[in-house]
Protein backbone atom coordinates (compact mmCIF):
# COMPACT_ATOMS: atom_id res chain seq x y z
CA UNK A 1 0.00 0.00 0.00
CA UNK A 2 2.79 2.40 0.96
CA UNK A 3 4.47 1.39 -2.27
CA UNK A 4 1.34 2.22 -4.24
CA UNK A 5 0.92 5.62 -2.55
CA UNK A 6 4.51 6.61 -3.24
CA UNK A 7 4.19 5.59 -6.89
CA UNK A 8 0.94 7.56 -7.23
CA UNK A 9 2.62 10.58 -5.64
CA UNK A 10 5.46 10.28 -8.14
CA UNK A 11 3.02 10.24 -11.08
CA UNK A 12 1.13 13.23 -9.71
CA UNK A 13 4.42 15.09 -9.32
CA UNK A 14 5.27 14.37 -12.97
CA UNK A 15 1.83 15.63 -14.06
CA UNK A 16 2.33 18.77 -12.01
CA UNK A 17 5.75 19.40 -13.57
CA UNK A 18 4.18 18.91 -17.00
CA UNK A 19 1.52 21.52 -16.29
CA UNK A 20 4.04 24.00 -14.85
CA UNK A 21 6.26 23.70 -17.92
CA UNK A 22 3.26 24.03 -20.23
CA UNK A 23 1.89 27.15 -18.52
CA UNK A 24 5.17 28.97 -17.83
CA UNK A 25 6.74 28.32 -21.25
CA UNK A 26 3.55 29.07 -23.14
CA UNK A 27 3.93 26.38 -25.82
CA UNK A 28 1.22 26.10 -28.50
CA UNK A 29 -1.56 23.71 -27.49
CA UNK A 30 -0.98 21.71 -30.66
CA UNK A 31 2.53 20.77 -29.51
CA UNK A 32 2.04 20.61 -25.77
CA UNK A 33 -1.51 19.75 -24.73
CA UNK A 34 -2.58 20.06 -21.11
CA UNK A 35 -3.33 17.15 -18.82
CA UNK A 36 -7.02 18.02 -18.96
CA UNK A 37 -7.24 17.80 -22.74
CA UNK A 38 -5.31 14.51 -22.78
CA UNK A 39 -7.71 13.13 -20.19
CA UNK A 40 -10.55 14.44 -22.34
CA UNK A 41 -9.20 12.63 -25.39
CA UNK A 42 -8.88 9.44 -23.34
CA UNK A 43 -12.53 9.69 -22.34
CA UNK A 44 -13.92 10.61 -25.73
CA UNK A 45 -11.89 7.98 -27.59
CA UNK A 46 -12.37 5.26 -25.02
CA UNK A 47 -14.19 2.78 -27.27
CA UNK A 48 -11.68 3.17 -30.10
CA UNK A 49 -8.75 3.05 -27.66
CA UNK A 50 -10.00 -0.14 -26.02
CA UNK A 51 -10.47 -1.94 -29.32
CA UNK A 52 -7.05 -0.77 -30.58
CA UNK A 53 -5.43 -1.82 -27.32
CA UNK A 54 -7.01 -5.27 -27.46
CA UNK A 55 -5.88 -5.62 -31.05
CA UNK A 56 -2.31 -4.71 -30.13
CA UNK A 57 -2.30 -7.00 -27.09
CA UNK A 58 -3.54 -9.88 -29.20
CA UNK A 59 -0.75 -9.46 -31.75
CA UNK A 60 1.89 -9.01 -29.08
CA UNK A 61 0.61 -11.93 -27.01
CA UNK A 62 0.58 -14.25 -30.01
CA UNK A 63 3.95 -13.02 -31.25
CA UNK A 64 5.55 -13.36 -27.85
CA UNK A 65 4.16 -16.86 -27.35
CA UNK A 66 5.54 -17.96 -30.72
CA UNK A 67 8.88 -16.27 -30.01
CA UNK A 68 9.19 -17.91 -26.57
CA UNK A 69 8.53 -21.36 -28.04
CA UNK A 70 11.05 -20.80 -30.82
CA UNK A 71 13.62 -19.41 -28.39
CA UNK A 72 13.22 -22.42 -26.06
CA UNK A 73 13.57 -24.74 -29.01
CA UNK A 74 16.69 -22.94 -30.25
CA UNK A 75 18.21 -22.99 -26.77
CA UNK A 76 17.55 -26.71 -26.28
CA UNK A 77 18.92 -27.47 -29.73
CA UNK A 78 22.06 -25.51 -29.04
CA UNK A 79 22.70 -27.78 -26.06
CA UNK A 80 22.47 -30.88 -28.25
CA UNK A 81 25.93 -30.46 -29.68
CA UNK A 82 28.73 -28.03 -30.31
CA UNK A 83 27.80 -27.60 -33.96
CA UNK A 84 24.23 -26.55 -33.04
CA UNK A 85 25.53 -24.12 -30.44
CA UNK A 86 27.72 -22.55 -33.11
CA UNK A 87 24.86 -22.27 -35.59
CA UNK A 88 22.60 -20.62 -33.03
CA UNK A 89 25.30 -18.23 -31.85
CA UNK A 90 26.19 -17.30 -35.45
CA UNK A 91 22.53 -16.66 -36.20
CA UNK A 92 22.37 -14.52 -33.07
CA UNK A 93 25.38 -12.50 -34.18
CA UNK A 94 23.76 -11.85 -37.57
CA UNK A 95 20.18 -11.26 -36.51
CA UNK A 96 20.31 -9.64 -33.08
CA UNK A 97 21.68 -6.26 -34.21
CA UNK A 98 19.09 -6.06 -36.98
CA UNK A 99 16.15 -3.90 -35.84
CA UNK A 100 12.85 -5.70 -36.28
CA UNK A 101 11.46 -2.74 -38.19
CA UNK A 102 14.25 -3.12 -40.76
CA UNK A 103 12.85 -6.44 -41.92
CA UNK A 104 9.33 -5.04 -42.31
CA UNK A 105 9.84 -4.33 -46.05
CA UNK A 106 10.77 -7.98 -46.54
CA UNK A 107 7.85 -9.10 -44.40
CA UNK A 108 5.47 -7.04 -46.52
CA UNK A 109 6.87 -8.62 -49.68
CA UNK A 110 6.42 -12.07 -48.22
CA UNK A 111 3.16 -11.71 -46.34
CA UNK A 112 1.55 -8.55 -47.76
CA UNK A 113 0.37 -5.56 -45.74
CA UNK A 114 -1.57 -6.69 -42.70
CA UNK A 115 -1.55 -8.58 -39.48
CA UNK A 116 0.76 -11.34 -40.64
CA UNK A 117 3.56 -8.94 -41.53
CA UNK A 118 3.30 -7.21 -38.19
CA UNK A 119 3.22 -10.53 -36.41
CA UNK A 120 6.35 -11.57 -38.25
CA UNK A 121 8.17 -8.42 -37.16
CA UNK A 122 6.99 -8.86 -33.55
CA UNK A 123 8.25 -12.46 -33.44
CA UNK A 124 11.54 -11.48 -35.04
CA UNK A 125 12.09 -8.59 -32.63
CA UNK A 126 11.38 -10.64 -29.50
CA UNK A 127 13.11 -13.84 -30.61
CA UNK A 128 16.79 -12.83 -30.50
CA UNK A 129 16.85 -11.17 -27.09
CA UNK A 130 14.89 -14.16 -25.77
CA UNK A 131 17.42 -16.65 -27.15
CA UNK A 132 20.23 -14.49 -25.81
CA UNK A 133 18.86 -14.55 -22.27
CA UNK A 134 17.74 -18.19 -22.28
CA UNK A 135 21.08 -19.35 -23.63
CA UNK A 136 23.05 -17.28 -21.12
CA UNK A 137 20.80 -18.62 -18.37
CA UNK A 138 21.20 -22.25 -19.36
CA UNK A 139 24.95 -21.88 -19.51
CA UNK A 140 25.23 -20.32 -16.09
CA UNK A 141 23.33 -22.85 -14.00
CA UNK A 142 25.26 -24.41 -11.10
CA UNK A 143 27.10 -27.44 -12.45
CA UNK A 144 26.25 -29.44 -9.32
CA UNK A 145 22.52 -29.09 -9.97
CA UNK A 146 22.95 -30.16 -13.58
CA UNK A 147 24.94 -33.21 -12.50
CA UNK A 148 22.39 -34.12 -9.84
CA UNK A 149 19.80 -34.15 -12.62
CA UNK A 150 21.99 -36.34 -14.83
CA UNK A 151 22.77 -38.60 -11.89
CA UNK A 152 19.04 -39.21 -11.43
CA UNK A 153 18.92 -40.43 -15.02
CA UNK A 154 17.37 -37.31 -16.54
CA UNK A 155 18.44 -36.36 -20.05
CA UNK A 156 17.29 -34.36 -23.06
CA UNK A 157 13.96 -32.57 -22.77
CA UNK A 158 13.31 -33.85 -19.29
CA UNK A 159 16.61 -32.50 -17.98
CA UNK A 160 16.03 -29.20 -19.80
CA UNK A 161 12.50 -28.66 -18.50
CA UNK A 162 12.83 -30.02 -14.99
CA UNK A 163 16.31 -28.83 -14.06
CA UNK A 164 17.80 -26.35 -16.51
CA UNK A 165 14.71 -24.19 -16.94
CA UNK A 166 13.99 -23.57 -13.24
CA UNK A 167 17.71 -23.31 -12.44
CA UNK A 168 18.09 -20.55 -15.03
CA UNK A 169 14.84 -18.81 -14.15
CA UNK A 170 16.35 -15.41 -13.22
CA UNK A 171 17.69 -15.18 -16.78
CA UNK A 172 14.51 -16.56 -18.30
CA UNK A 173 12.44 -13.94 -16.53
CA UNK A 174 14.66 -11.05 -17.60
CA UNK A 175 14.51 -12.47 -21.12
CA UNK A 176 10.72 -12.41 -20.99
CA UNK A 177 10.77 -8.79 -19.84
CA UNK A 178 13.05 -7.78 -22.68
CA UNK A 179 11.07 -9.83 -25.17
CA UNK A 180 7.82 -8.22 -24.06
CA UNK A 181 9.27 -4.71 -24.43
CA UNK A 182 10.73 -5.52 -27.85
CA UNK A 183 7.42 -6.96 -29.00
CA UNK A 184 5.58 -3.76 -28.02
CA UNK A 185 8.15 -1.56 -29.67
CA UNK A 186 8.02 -3.61 -32.84
CA UNK A 187 4.23 -3.64 -33.12
CA UNK A 188 3.90 0.11 -32.54
CA UNK A 189 6.78 0.95 -34.84
CA UNK A 190 5.48 -1.26 -37.64
CA UNK A 191 2.05 0.34 -37.56
CA UNK A 192 3.49 3.84 -37.25
CA UNK A 193 5.59 3.37 -40.35
CA UNK A 194 3.30 1.30 -42.55
CA UNK A 195 -0.15 1.79 -41.11
CA UNK A 196 -2.72 -0.95 -41.03
CA UNK A 197 -4.87 -2.78 -43.55
CA UNK A 198 -8.63 -3.05 -43.67
CA UNK A 199 -9.32 -0.57 -40.87
CA UNK A 200 -7.97 -3.06 -38.36
CA UNK A 201 -5.04 -1.85 -36.37
CA UNK A 202 -3.51 -1.44 -32.98
CA UNK A 203 -2.19 1.42 -30.91
CA UNK A 204 0.58 2.22 -33.39
CA UNK A 205 -2.04 2.76 -36.06
CA UNK A 206 -4.02 4.89 -33.60
CA UNK A 207 -0.97 7.11 -32.97
CA UNK A 208 -0.38 7.36 -36.71
CA UNK A 209 -3.97 8.49 -37.36
CA UNK A 210 -4.01 11.03 -34.52
CA UNK A 211 -0.73 12.56 -35.67
CA UNK A 212 -2.01 12.70 -39.23
CA UNK A 213 -5.15 14.52 -38.06
CA UNK A 214 -3.09 16.81 -35.82
CA UNK A 215 -5.08 15.62 -32.79
CA UNK A 216 -2.17 15.98 -30.40
CA UNK A 217 -4.06 15.13 -27.18
CA UNK A 218 -5.05 11.86 -28.83
CA UNK A 219 -1.39 11.10 -29.61
CA UNK A 220 -0.53 11.60 -25.97
CA UNK A 221 -3.54 9.55 -24.89
CA UNK A 222 -2.30 6.65 -27.02
CA UNK A 223 1.20 6.95 -25.57
CA UNK A 224 -0.25 7.07 -22.09
CA UNK A 225 -2.11 3.81 -22.71
CA UNK A 226 1.11 2.13 -23.87
CA UNK A 227 2.90 3.31 -20.74
CA UNK A 228 0.03 2.24 -18.47
CA UNK A 229 -0.08 -1.23 -20.00
CA UNK A 230 3.67 -1.48 -19.52
CA UNK A 231 3.32 -0.57 -15.86
CA UNK A 232 0.39 -2.93 -15.37
CA UNK A 233 2.18 -5.86 -16.96
CA UNK A 234 5.31 -5.18 -14.92
CA UNK A 235 3.50 -4.93 -11.59
CA UNK A 236 0.71 -7.41 -12.11
CA UNK A 237 2.44 -10.09 -14.14
CA UNK A 238 6.23 -9.92 -14.00
CA UNK A 239 6.49 -8.82 -10.37
CA UNK A 240 3.94 -11.48 -9.48
CA UNK A 241 5.94 -14.19 -11.23
CA UNK A 242 9.11 -12.89 -9.61
CA UNK A 243 7.60 -12.97 -6.12
CA UNK A 244 6.34 -16.49 -6.59
CA UNK A 245 9.59 -17.80 -8.03
CA UNK A 246 13.10 -16.41 -7.80
CA UNK A 247 12.31 -14.05 -4.93
CA UNK A 248 10.76 -16.89 -2.97
CA UNK A 249 13.68 -19.19 -3.73
CA UNK A 250 16.23 -16.42 -3.04
CA UNK A 251 18.06 -17.21 -6.26
CA UNK A 252 18.44 -13.48 -6.86
CA UNK A 253 19.79 -10.68 -4.73
CA UNK A 254 17.13 -8.32 -3.29
Amino acid sequence: MRDFVSKLAFILLLALAWEIVRITCDYPVLLFPGIASIAGALWVEKVDLISKTLFSLKIIGTGLAVAVCLAMLATFISFCGKIFAEIVSDLMAIMHPLPGIAILPVAILWFGIGVRSILFVVVFSALWPLINHFYAGFRSIPINQLEVGKNLGLAGWELALKVMLPASFPHVLSGLRTGWARAWQASVAAELVFGAAGGQGGLGWYLYKKRFMMETPGVFAGMLIIVLIGIAVEYLIFAGIENRTIRKWKTIIN
Partner: protein
Amino acid sequence: MSLEELLTVSNVTKIYETGKNKVVGVQNISFCVRRGEFVSIIGHSGCGKSTLLRCIAGFEKITEGSIYLSGQKVKRPEPNRVMVFQGLDQLFPWLTLKENIIFAMKAVDKGRGNFAERAEQYLELVGLEGFGDFYPYQLSGGMKQRAAIARALSVKPELLLMDEPFGSLDAFTRRAMHEMLLEVWQRTGVTIIFVTHDLEEAVELSDKILVFSKGRLRGILENHLSRPREKDKSSYRSFLLKVSNFFDDDGRASLDSRELPAAEAKLAF
Protein backbone atom coordinates in the same frame (compact mmCIF):
# COMPACT_ATOMS: atom_id res chain seq x y z
CA MET B 1 29.27 -57.89 6.76
CA SER B 2 28.84 -59.63 3.45
CA LEU B 3 31.93 -60.23 1.40
CA GLU B 4 30.23 -59.85 -1.94
CA GLU B 5 32.11 -57.66 -4.38
CA LEU B 6 30.03 -54.66 -5.41
CA LEU B 7 32.40 -52.41 -7.32
CA THR B 8 35.36 -53.51 -9.38
CA VAL B 9 37.73 -50.89 -10.72
CA SER B 10 40.37 -52.34 -12.99
CA ASN B 11 43.30 -50.57 -14.61
CA VAL B 12 41.42 -47.29 -14.86
CA THR B 13 43.27 -44.43 -16.52
CA LYS B 14 41.80 -41.03 -17.20
CA ILE B 15 43.69 -38.59 -19.40
CA TYR B 16 42.38 -35.09 -20.00
CA GLU B 17 43.18 -33.65 -23.38
CA THR B 18 43.10 -29.89 -23.51
CA GLY B 19 44.23 -28.86 -26.96
CA LYS B 20 47.78 -30.19 -27.34
CA ASN B 21 48.30 -30.87 -23.65
CA LYS B 22 47.58 -34.19 -22.07
CA VAL B 23 47.05 -34.19 -18.35
CA VAL B 24 46.88 -37.42 -16.44
CA GLY B 25 43.93 -37.45 -14.07
CA VAL B 26 44.40 -40.93 -12.68
CA GLN B 27 46.61 -43.74 -13.88
CA ASN B 28 46.20 -47.48 -13.74
CA ILE B 29 43.92 -47.70 -10.73
CA SER B 30 42.63 -51.07 -9.57
CA PHE B 31 40.70 -51.96 -6.44
CA CYS B 32 37.40 -53.41 -5.39
CA VAL B 33 34.75 -52.51 -2.88
CA ARG B 34 32.61 -55.04 -1.03
CA ARG B 35 28.93 -54.52 -0.47
CA GLY B 36 28.26 -52.54 2.69
CA GLU B 37 31.81 -51.27 3.01
CA PHE B 38 32.81 -47.73 3.94
CA VAL B 39 35.80 -46.81 1.81
CA SER B 40 37.72 -43.55 2.00
CA ILE B 41 39.99 -42.14 -0.65
CA ILE B 42 42.57 -39.74 0.73
CA GLY B 43 45.23 -37.64 -0.88
CA HIS B 44 46.63 -34.25 -1.58
CA SER B 45 44.36 -31.93 -3.53
CA GLY B 46 44.84 -32.48 -7.25
CA CYS B 47 45.92 -36.08 -6.70
CA GLY B 48 43.08 -37.46 -8.78
CA LYS B 49 40.81 -38.70 -6.01
CA SER B 50 37.83 -36.64 -7.13
CA THR B 51 38.54 -37.55 -10.75
CA LEU B 52 38.32 -41.23 -9.89
CA LEU B 53 35.07 -40.67 -8.01
CA ARG B 54 33.63 -38.83 -11.01
CA CYS B 55 34.68 -41.73 -13.24
CA ILE B 56 32.89 -44.18 -10.95
CA ALA B 57 29.82 -41.91 -11.01
CA GLY B 58 29.97 -41.89 -14.80
CA PHE B 59 30.43 -38.13 -15.15
CA GLU B 60 33.82 -38.65 -16.77
CA LYS B 61 34.58 -41.08 -19.58
CA ILE B 62 37.56 -43.21 -18.68
CA THR B 63 40.43 -43.43 -21.17
CA GLU B 64 41.41 -47.01 -20.33
CA GLY B 65 40.29 -49.80 -18.06
CA SER B 66 36.86 -50.67 -16.81
CA ILE B 67 34.53 -50.11 -13.89
CA TYR B 68 31.86 -52.65 -12.99
CA LEU B 69 29.08 -52.18 -10.45
CA SER B 70 27.44 -55.50 -9.52
CA GLY B 71 28.48 -57.01 -12.82
CA GLN B 72 27.27 -54.06 -14.93
CA LYS B 73 29.70 -51.88 -16.80
CA VAL B 74 29.62 -48.21 -15.79
CA LYS B 75 29.08 -46.00 -18.83
CA ARG B 76 27.01 -43.02 -17.78
CA PRO B 77 25.60 -41.48 -14.59
CA GLU B 78 22.82 -43.62 -13.19
CA PRO B 79 20.83 -43.58 -9.96
CA ASN B 80 22.33 -46.88 -8.77
CA ARG B 81 25.34 -44.81 -7.68
CA VAL B 82 24.55 -41.35 -6.44
CA MET B 83 27.00 -38.55 -5.85
CA VAL B 84 26.91 -36.07 -3.00
CA PHE B 85 29.02 -33.04 -3.84
CA GLN B 86 31.04 -30.66 -1.71
CA GLY B 87 29.19 -27.57 -2.90
CA LEU B 88 26.34 -26.16 -0.84
CA ASP B 89 24.38 -25.44 -4.05
CA GLN B 90 23.50 -29.01 -4.97
CA LEU B 91 19.92 -28.87 -3.69
CA PHE B 92 17.45 -27.44 -6.19
CA PRO B 93 16.74 -23.97 -4.77
CA TRP B 94 13.28 -23.84 -6.33
CA LEU B 95 12.05 -26.83 -4.34
CA THR B 96 11.56 -27.33 -0.63
CA LEU B 97 13.55 -30.10 1.06
CA LYS B 98 10.66 -32.50 0.81
CA GLU B 99 10.09 -31.58 -2.84
CA ASN B 100 13.80 -32.07 -3.55
CA ILE B 101 13.56 -35.62 -2.29
CA ILE B 102 10.26 -36.28 -4.06
CA PHE B 103 11.80 -34.92 -7.28
CA ALA B 104 14.59 -37.50 -7.04
CA MET B 105 12.27 -40.37 -6.20
CA LYS B 106 9.92 -39.46 -9.05
CA ALA B 107 12.77 -39.12 -11.54
CA VAL B 108 13.97 -42.62 -10.73
CA ASP B 109 10.77 -44.43 -9.91
CA LYS B 110 8.27 -43.23 -12.50
CA GLY B 111 5.44 -45.14 -10.86
CA ARG B 112 3.12 -43.75 -8.24
CA GLY B 113 3.71 -44.21 -4.60
CA ASN B 114 3.46 -42.46 -1.32
CA PHE B 115 6.41 -40.22 -2.09
CA ALA B 116 5.60 -37.61 0.55
CA GLU B 117 5.63 -40.10 3.39
CA ARG B 118 8.84 -41.70 2.21
CA ALA B 119 10.47 -38.28 1.80
CA GLU B 120 9.60 -37.54 5.42
CA GLN B 121 11.28 -40.79 6.48
CA TYR B 122 14.48 -39.88 4.70
CA LEU B 123 14.50 -36.44 6.30
CA GLU B 124 14.11 -38.14 9.64
CA LEU B 125 16.99 -40.47 8.83
CA VAL B 126 19.42 -37.54 8.53
CA GLY B 127 17.94 -35.65 11.48
CA LEU B 128 15.91 -33.10 9.53
CA GLU B 129 12.43 -34.04 10.69
CA GLY B 130 10.15 -31.01 10.57
CA PHE B 131 12.26 -29.18 7.97
CA GLY B 132 10.49 -30.63 4.94
CA ASP B 133 8.79 -27.39 3.97
CA PHE B 134 11.91 -25.24 4.18
CA TYR B 135 13.64 -23.93 1.08
CA PRO B 136 17.38 -24.58 0.77
CA TYR B 137 18.31 -20.93 1.38
CA GLN B 138 16.70 -21.14 4.82
CA LEU B 139 19.12 -23.83 5.97
CA SER B 140 22.65 -23.85 7.35
CA GLY B 141 25.45 -25.51 5.40
CA GLY B 142 25.31 -28.64 7.54
CA MET B 143 21.58 -28.98 7.05
CA LYS B 144 21.95 -28.57 3.30
CA GLN B 145 24.46 -31.42 3.21
CA ARG B 146 22.18 -33.57 5.38
CA ALA B 147 19.35 -32.92 2.94
CA ALA B 148 21.58 -33.76 -0.01
CA ILE B 149 22.45 -37.07 1.65
CA ALA B 150 18.76 -37.77 2.30
CA ARG B 151 17.95 -37.03 -1.34
CA ALA B 152 20.76 -39.28 -2.55
CA LEU B 153 19.62 -42.16 -0.33
CA SER B 154 15.98 -41.74 -1.29
CA VAL B 155 16.58 -43.34 -4.68
CA LYS B 156 18.04 -46.40 -2.92
CA PRO B 157 21.47 -46.38 -4.59
CA GLU B 158 23.78 -49.37 -4.27
CA LEU B 159 26.71 -47.03 -3.89
CA LEU B 160 26.87 -43.60 -2.30
CA LEU B 161 29.69 -41.47 -3.68
CA MET B 162 30.74 -38.56 -1.50
CA ASP B 163 33.15 -35.94 -2.81
CA GLU B 164 34.41 -34.11 0.28
CA PRO B 165 30.81 -33.54 1.35
CA PHE B 166 31.80 -31.88 4.61
CA GLY B 167 34.65 -29.85 3.12
CA SER B 168 32.67 -26.60 3.30
CA LEU B 169 31.60 -27.07 6.91
CA ASP B 170 33.16 -25.94 10.17
CA ALA B 171 34.81 -28.42 12.55
CA PHE B 172 31.88 -28.59 15.00
CA THR B 173 29.31 -29.26 12.32
CA ARG B 174 31.64 -31.76 10.74
CA ARG B 175 31.80 -33.84 13.90
CA ALA B 176 28.01 -33.99 14.08
CA MET B 177 27.90 -34.94 10.40
CA HIS B 178 30.32 -37.82 11.00
CA GLU B 179 28.06 -39.23 13.70
CA MET B 180 25.02 -38.81 11.50
CA LEU B 181 26.70 -40.41 8.49
CA LEU B 182 27.87 -43.44 10.46
CA GLU B 183 24.40 -43.93 11.86
CA VAL B 184 22.85 -43.62 8.39
CA TRP B 185 25.41 -46.06 7.00
CA GLN B 186 24.67 -48.59 9.70
CA ARG B 187 20.91 -48.20 9.39
CA THR B 188 20.71 -48.39 5.61
CA GLY B 189 23.62 -50.73 4.92
CA VAL B 190 24.56 -48.62 1.88
CA THR B 191 28.07 -48.88 0.47
CA ILE B 192 30.00 -45.61 0.64
CA ILE B 193 33.05 -44.24 -1.14
CA PHE B 194 34.14 -41.09 0.63
CA VAL B 195 36.74 -38.72 -0.79
CA THR B 196 38.54 -36.50 1.68
CA HIS B 197 41.90 -34.85 2.35
CA ASP B 198 41.36 -35.09 6.09
CA LEU B 199 43.24 -38.14 7.42
CA GLU B 200 41.42 -38.15 10.71
CA GLU B 201 38.06 -38.09 8.96
CA ALA B 202 39.09 -41.10 6.92
CA VAL B 203 40.39 -43.02 9.93
CA GLU B 204 37.30 -42.27 11.95
CA LEU B 205 34.78 -43.25 9.29
CA SER B 206 36.05 -45.97 7.03
CA ASP B 207 36.76 -49.69 6.83
CA LYS B 208 39.31 -49.23 4.10
CA ILE B 209 41.48 -46.31 3.08
CA LEU B 210 42.86 -45.80 -0.42
CA VAL B 211 45.89 -43.54 -0.47
CA PHE B 212 46.30 -41.48 -3.62
CA SER B 213 49.09 -39.34 -4.91
CA LYS B 214 49.89 -37.85 -8.30
CA GLY B 215 47.11 -39.76 -9.98
CA ARG B 216 48.20 -43.15 -8.66
CA LEU B 217 46.95 -45.44 -5.97
CA ARG B 218 49.80 -45.77 -3.50
CA GLY B 219 48.28 -48.13 -1.01
CA ILE B 220 45.20 -49.71 0.45
CA LEU B 221 44.92 -49.74 4.22
CA GLU B 222 42.40 -51.94 6.00
CA ASN B 223 41.07 -50.17 9.06
CA HIS B 224 40.21 -52.78 11.70
CA LEU B 225 39.68 -50.37 14.59
CA SER B 226 36.53 -51.31 16.44
CA ARG B 227 33.49 -49.04 16.30
CA PRO B 228 32.58 -46.68 17.85
CA ARG B 229 36.07 -45.34 17.45
CA GLU B 230 37.60 -43.55 20.39
CA LYS B 231 40.12 -40.92 19.47
CA ASP B 232 42.10 -41.16 22.69
CA LYS B 233 42.75 -44.89 22.35
CA SER B 234 46.36 -45.71 21.57
CA SER B 235 45.36 -48.05 18.71
CA TYR B 236 43.54 -45.11 17.08
CA ARG B 237 46.53 -42.80 17.47
CA SER B 238 48.97 -45.34 16.11
CA PHE B 239 46.78 -46.13 13.11
CA LEU B 240 46.43 -42.43 12.37
CA LEU B 241 50.20 -42.14 12.56
CA LYS B 242 50.60 -45.01 10.13
CA VAL B 243 48.24 -43.34 7.67
CA SER B 244 50.00 -40.03 7.97
CA ASN B 245 53.37 -41.75 7.46
CA PHE B 246 52.22 -42.33 3.91
CA PHE B 247 52.64 -38.65 3.34
CA ASP B 248 55.95 -36.85 3.51
CA ASP B 249 56.38 -33.21 4.41
CA ASP B 250 54.95 -31.75 1.26
CA GLY B 251 51.82 -33.79 1.71
CA ARG B 252 52.31 -36.21 -1.15
CA ALA B 253 52.22 -39.95 -0.58
CA SER B 254 55.82 -41.06 -0.49
CA LEU B 255 55.65 -44.70 -1.47
CA ASP B 256 57.11 -45.26 -4.87
CA SER B 257 54.74 -47.19 -7.07
CA ARG B 258 57.58 -48.93 -8.90
CA GLU B 259 58.88 -50.39 -5.72
CA LEU B 260 55.46 -51.23 -4.40
CA PRO B 261 52.70 -51.84 -6.95
CA ALA B 262 49.24 -50.95 -5.76
CA ALA B 263 48.12 -54.55 -5.46
CA GLU B 264 50.99 -55.36 -3.12
CA ALA B 265 50.77 -52.16 -1.17
CA LYS B 266 47.90 -53.54 0.81
CA LEU B 267 48.89 -53.22 4.40
CA ALA B 268 47.07 -54.89 7.25
CA PHE B 269 46.77 -53.49 10.72
